[in-house]
């Protein structure tokens, strides 16, 4: 059995968590002050994920860039693949908040959506 110390990223409290592991199995989670902490620790030890935010270029818009995010969390190991796949994306203005920019980012099955409106100029 091994013990792993984590800090919960579920909210700004940042609870210090201790996870007891037996191989790939989570035996127990302690230190959390809500159930999100337990959920985070189990996920972080077995299948860590993150929501990725970035920007892509806009052509013909009032702003040069539009901010985007993955519509849901993607595996942590895919972060760089996702950002790389956004590198050459160029989207014509106008762009609307929630608009799908890439339907399936880096084979994760998760779409990337705009998080801001950019009007055409």
């Amino acid at each position: 059995m091994k013990k792993v110390n984590l800090i919960c990223i579920g909210c700004p409290l940042g609870c210090p968590l201790t996870v007891e592991m037996e191989g790939d199995q989570v035996l127990s989670v302690t230190g959390n002050t809500c159930k999100n902490g337990d959920k985070y620790a189990r996920k972080e030890m077995t299948n860590p994920t993150r929501v990725i935010t970035s920007t892509v270029r806009v052509t013909g818009g009032k702003l040069a860039m539009v901010s985007v995010k993955t519509a849901s969390d993607v595996p942590k190991g895919k972060i760089f693949d996702c950002v790389k796949a956004l590198k050459d994306v160029d989207i014509p203005a106008p762009v609307h908040m929630g608009q799908v920019i890439v339907a399936d980012i880096a084979g994760t099955g998760v779409p990337v959506i705009a998080t801001k409106n950019v009007d055409a100029c």
């Binding site: 984590l6 800090i7 919960c8 990223i9 579920g10 909210c11 700004p12 940042g14 993150r50 929501v51 990725i52 935010t53 970035s54 920007t55 270029r57 702003l63 040069a64 860039m65 901010s67 985007v68 995010k69 942590k76 972060i79 760089f80 950002v83 908040m97 998080t115 801001k116 409106n117």
Partner: protein, 421 residues
């Protein structure tokens, strides 16, 4: 120029929430003045997520969070002027501003809400020796360049200061292809949120060196490298220097409320927060001038900015509708034992509605464990709460009940302090 009952200076999260709340509380005539070319303030460049967990129970990015309030302002048809710089606020609340369309103009509102936010501490305020080459940016400037203009300010980066913007930019620069070599922090603890250290540094293997600072910047035209050294009792220790070749130094060394206008109006400034000293109604020393958000004190979460600004909007509405500030016994709030400051700095208990709650916000001056936050009215303890961990990077809130404050309406002072649990 058309006259307005309420002028809100700043169209960021504080100004937007204040405007919406003031309109909903019955003020018809409101004008928001914003110097940027869009509403939303700094949220527009904060493209990362983590905003709105308290307000909307979901995790939004900065532009999305701002968008929710901008939509409300537009729905309520609250007028605003963009690209408009407020030049002066006079003690009689005359607002002097200018823009390219209206030229120079004055407004004589019944009430003003200060919502100008804060700005970053620049290199000049940090006393770092060395030349002044290109490649030194505040973290927020770099954030704007990357996220809004689409430029990467450098490829090999060292970050001084572990405030949240510095941590966020460590991740952002890494994702955009730069190598962030190290984040150095002068203090023995980070000034940022713990979750940001995990998500922005640990996830990418970026080292955080506590009790370290920059003692030299090399390069004359462009940054060529920096030297870090360990710090003890505020002094760099000779022999601990480490050299990092790099082309960029980002500074995330604290935020300063932007109060030039408040000062010109003669508003009393709290020297600890560098923001106006306000009472329970978030009213400054000038009746009818209110303040909220980072211009008042630097917040950790925008959710609290919105909440505070909405309260300022409601109080400003009451002032406008009643035509004056209520007079009454004002109890000063003192802090000690680790509590650096409080907002507000005084409370008028008889002003409060019976079921009201006064949020007392504060920060501590060091990292503390296993303490109790205790509030006294005179000699009587009126509040206590256990606090497992307290850190300077995180704002604390204590909610005081109006009924309890009114019971102690003749107390000479209210005292907020930390005691051992």
């Amino acid at each position: 120029m058309k006259e307005y009952d309420l002028v809100i200076i700043g169209g960021g999260p504080a100004g937007l929430a204040a405007a919406v709340a003031a309109r909903n509380a019955g003020v018809e005539s409101i004008l928001i003045l914003e110097r940027d070319n869009e509403l939303g303030g700094i949220l527009n460049q904060c493209i990362h997520s983590g905003f709105g967990l308290h307000t909307f129970q979901e995790e939004l990015t900065g532009p999305e969070y701002a968008g929710r309030f901008i939509d409300q302002v537009k729905q309520l048809q609250i007028p605003y002027k963009l690209k408009t710089m407020v030049l002066d606020l006079a003690p009689d609340k005359t607002v002097t501003a200018m823009n390219a369309e209206d030229g120079l103009f004055q407004i004589h509102p019944k009430a003003v809400i200060l919502a100008m936010g804060c700005r970053e501490r620049p290199r000049g305020a940090l006393n770092i020796p060395g030349f002044r080459p290109a490649g030194i940016y505040t973290a927020g400037t770099a954030q704007r360049l990357v996220n809004m203009e689409g430029y990467l300010p450098g490829r090999n980066v060292v970050i001084l200061g572990s405030g949240d913007i510095g941590l966020i930019m460590a991740r952002r620069m890494t994702l955009e292809g730069a190598k962030v070599h190290v984040v150095a922090e002068l203090m023995p603890y980070s000034g940022g949120l713990k979750r940001n250290i995990v998500q922005c540094l640990d996830d990418f293997g970026i080292p955080l060196k506590l009790s370290h600072t920059v003692v030299d910047i090399q390069g004359k035209e462009r940054v060529e490298g920096i030297t870090l050294a360990r710090v003890e009792n505020g002094k760099p220790i000779p022999g601990t220097e480490e050299h990092y070749p790099c082309d960029t130094l980002l500074l995330s060394c604290g935020l300063i409320p932007e109060n030039e206008l408040s000062r010109s109006a003669g508003v009393t400034i709290n020297p600890v927060t560098n923001g106006p000293a306000v009472n329970e109604s978030l009213e400054t020393s000038i009746p009818g001038v209110f303040a909220a958000g980072n211009v008042l004190h630097v917040h950790d979460l925008v959710d609290y900015v919105s909440e505070e600004a909405a309260a300022a909007g409601v109080h400003a509405a009451r002032y406008i509708l009643q035509g004056q500030s209520p007079a009454g016994n004002e109890i000063p709030i003192r802090c000690e034992g680790g509590v650096r400051y409080t907002v507000p700095v005084s409370i008028r208990p008889q002003e409060l509605e019976a079921d009201a709650v006064v949020p007392l916000r504060f920060r501590v001056g060091n990292v503390y464990q296993n303490k109790r936050i205790v509030v006294y009215a005179g000699e009587t303890q009126i509040f206590q709460r256990k606090a497992r961990v307290l850190a300077p990077g995180e704002m604390e809130t204590v909610n005081l009940k109006a009924s309890v404050l009114q019971e102690h309406g003749d107390a000479p002072e209210i005292l907020v302090k930390l005691e051992d649990a």
